[in-house]
């Protein structure tokens, strides 16, 4: 049979939404377009923040951009996301967030009252996380060329952990902690954007994580790695980490908290909660000896009250994430090819 590829290589000629999904297309954008041009010790760590030498201290530096429709959603808004997102990225490197920059890209015609509400949220979020917004920039694009407001924030912090917290320190036998229930942000935003009416009042999990991380560090928990769960959800974060450290993670599905509202919405929409976005959840890799202490500390914090031990780093040297379900069957988690699309039936 004459077998050939009849499909054009489609995902390279234009930017697609899937390039921003956090899945395999995003990964290829990074490896094919960005990393070859900006290759250095710190970018190749592929972590949430770069930890840089700075006199005797270690400076942690990160940046993140925020595009969300609608700008206001149940449980948060783009302003809070823009502060918490960057604060959380710094926290994931074991840093105390110190200073933020803020780049606003505003669309012509945006009501000033909307801008004011977003800025007020940012100010409140900055105050509550103990970070100062010290520099910024504003640009306005023509009507129709933006989506109301886009925000970029960059942040610097000071590393407060004694050891680096990064994927390379993940060890065999490490316990994997998840700070709370998953999928609330993605479902809340989708329900709000698409006008889907669910019976429950589901709200985003949008929240700062720096206090919870600081408490773990101050209590002397030896944290090996942290990662906040954003787009792509728990599954994508863990697959990325497994690939970074070259180890096998085994998860117990029954220990992963999913609220009934999220589970129900995912059933209806044909989505998998493991891949739904979060904005206030993280995973922590700690040695078995620290796991009890870490769990009890996290459960005493606002961000980690529903913390669970969801799995372990296994003996295998295949970079993979195996999920054991309640039937005792294993499923390997994969990166999504692009965006998670609702299924027809």
């Amino acid at each position: 049979m004459d077998l050939h590829c009849p499909i054009l290589p489609t995902d390279n000629d234009t930017v697609r939404l899937g390039h921003g999904s956090g899945g395999a297309m995003t990964q290829r954008l990074l490896t094919d377009y960005i990393q070859p041009l900006f290759n250095n010790t710190w970018i190749s760590q592929a972590h949430d923040s770069a930890t840089l030498p700075w006199n005797t201290d270690r400076l942690v530096f990160t940046t993140d951009s925020f595009v969300v429709t609608p700008l206001f959603f149940p449980g948060g808004n783009i302003g809070e996301l823009a502060v918490y997102g960057t604060v959380n990225d710094l926290a994931m490197a074991g840093a105390e967030p110190k200073f933020l920059s803020c780049g606003l890209i505003l669309e012509e015609g945006l009501p000033m009252v909307t801008l004011k509400r977003v800025l007020q949220s940012m100010a409140k979020a900055a105050q509550s996380t103990g970070v100062m917004l010290v520099t910024g920039d504003t640009k306005v694009v023509e009507r129709g060329k933006g989506d109301g407001i886009y925000i970029n924030t960059s942040g610097v912090g000071q590393q407060i952990s004694q050891w680096p917290i990064e994927p390379g320190r993940i060890c065999r036998g490490d316990v994997i902690l998840l700070s709370g229930d998953i999928g609330r942000h993605g479902i809340a935003v989708m329900a709000s954007r698409e006008g889907l009416e669910f019976e429950s009042n589901l709200t985003s999990d949008c929240a700062p994580l720096n206090r919870a991380v600081a408490e773990l560090i101050q209590a002397g928990v030896e944290i090996h790695c942290l990662r906040d769960l954003t787009r792509g959800g728990l599954a994508t974060a863990l697959v990325e980490l497994a690939e970074s450290c070259g180890k096998t993670f085994s998860l117990d599905e029954s220990r992963i908290p999913v609220s009934e509202a999220v589970e129900g919405a995912c059933e209806i929409l044909g989505l998998d909660p493991l891949y739904v976005a979060n904005e206030g959840r993280f995973v922590a890799f700690v040695p078995e000896s620290s796991s009890k202490l870490a769990t009890s500390i996290l459960r005493g914090t606002v961000a980690g009250s529903l913390c669970e031990i969801i799995g372990r780093v296994g003996d295998g040297d295949h970079p993979q994430v195996a999920l054991k379900n309640s039937l005792g069957c294993d499923r390997l988690l994969q990166r999504l090819p692009g965006e998670q699309l609702p299924r027809i039936c």
Partner: protein, 375 residues
């Protein structure tokens, strides 16, 4: 969650699996018809619970997989037009047409909306009287019912800016077509529970009788599927061939009469082209003449030529159970979810995508998992 967790209970499922192990004395090949069942089998790893000789073949009941390429090409043509709002279920956006897909049209500026119900498309038509709103109406009897309701409302409301690009399939004629093949290797069917909730299963008795094949109407949760397999194997081991209803909480023999009447009001039965398989007589639905003005293919003068499907994709043989995805030389090589050669690699319900996600699966202790599909 009520009515879900009961059917995902590990103890119950393992009990049925143990019973299956005792019941099964030799290899059997069953086909689950519906893509939703295929998805559940992959998601829960159910093949790992079956006795080694029992093979599940993934049938043609994935709407994303069987929608003809010419419909995708037609959708792409319409979606790229100015003043059109094109509405589709999400997973159709990645299905390859002959040179492109709907995601690429969207990236090029086409106004494509992912919707969750055809009524959303109807509302968009009401809100945008100066735009043509087109809905990609694909799927089986399940989606056809909601689509028929939407079209009848469009007619009542005289919504002249609304139309639907129709590619609707009927399941029972496809089962008949599979059974009638000389090379058919399927020995029993798990019929699609949700389709039967609409159609009932009166028409299946004749099929079971004619082809001496057991048919078990089966649900979509892991307990449903493993029980459907057990019931099928019990019949096969006992030399029986009849229709059984495992999915009694949703399906009755007569089905949903209101839905059936709605379907008859809007649609008539026609031959249908199944991607990768070809034409199956009386296996499709097209609009009746009184609804023809809502036919997007007619409104936008789409060509009616039946272009051949992509060569290179073995989807037909895979959907008929003649080959496994890993028999295809392009599987996980040239063809993968990021660049599918054919539709079964697109949808998570597609057999190839399900196999892809389990390829080279290695258990945590380093050994191969039992029944890993490509071993």
């Amino acid at each position: 969650m009520k009515y879900l967790q009961e059917y995902r209970n590990g103890d119950c499922i393992r009990t049925v699996a143990a019973e299956l192990e005792k019941t099964s004395s030799r290899p059997w090949t069953l086909m689950e018809i519906c893509g939703g069942q295929t998805h559940a089998i992959a998601k829960y790893g159910l093949q790992q619970l079956l006795p080694p000789g029992i093979q599940l073949v993934h049938g043609p009941g994935c709407p994303v997989c069987v929608t003809p390429q010419e419909i995708i090409d037609g959708a792409i043509t319409i979606a790229a037009m100015p003043d059109v709002i094109f509405c589709s279920y999400g997973d159709m956006l990645r299905v390859p047409g002959s040179v492109s897909d709907l995601l690429q049209v969207k990236a090029g500026g086409g106004d494509i909306r992912i919707i969750y119900s055809p009524l959303q498309a109807l509302h968009l038509a009401e809100q945008n009287p100066n735009k043509q709103v087109v809905f990609l109406a694909i799927g089986f009897e399940t989606t056809a019912t909601a689509n028929a309701l939407t079209l009848s409302l469009a007619k009542q409301k005289s919504l002249h800016n609304f139309s639907a690009l129709i590619s609707q399939f009927l399941v029972a004629p496809a089962i008949r077509s599979i059974c009638a093949r000389k090379d058919c290797q399927i020995q029993g069917f798990l019929a699609a529970g949700h389709v039967c909730a609409i159609t009932g299963y009166e028409q299946y008795h004749q099929l079971a009788e004619n082809y001496h094949i057991p048919i078990v109407i089966t649900g979509f949760e892991p307990l449903d599927i493993i029980e459907g397999v057990l019931r099928c194997i019990r019949q096969l081991e006992g030399g029986h061939y009849r229709v059984e209803n495992q999915y009694q909480r949703a399906v009755t023999q007569a089905g949903n009469r209101t839905a059936q009447s709605l379907l008859k009001t809007v649609f008539k039965i026609s031959a249908q082209h199944w991607r990768g398989i070809g034409e199956i007589p009386t296996s499709g639905l097209i609009l009746k003449e009184e609804y023809a003005s809502f036919d997007a293919a007619r409104r936008f003068n789409l060509p009616t030529s039946n272009r051949a499907d992509n060569r290179g994709c073995l989807s037909g043989e895979i959907l008929l159970g003649l080959k496994k995805p890993c028999d295809c030389p392009h599987f996980a090589q040239k063809c993968h979810p990021q660049q599918p050669l054919g539709a079964p690699m697109v949808s998570s319900e597609g057999a190839c995508a399900a196999y892809y996600h389990y390829r080279d699966q290695v258990s945590v202790n380093g050994s191969a998992l039992p029944n890993s599909p490509n071993r």
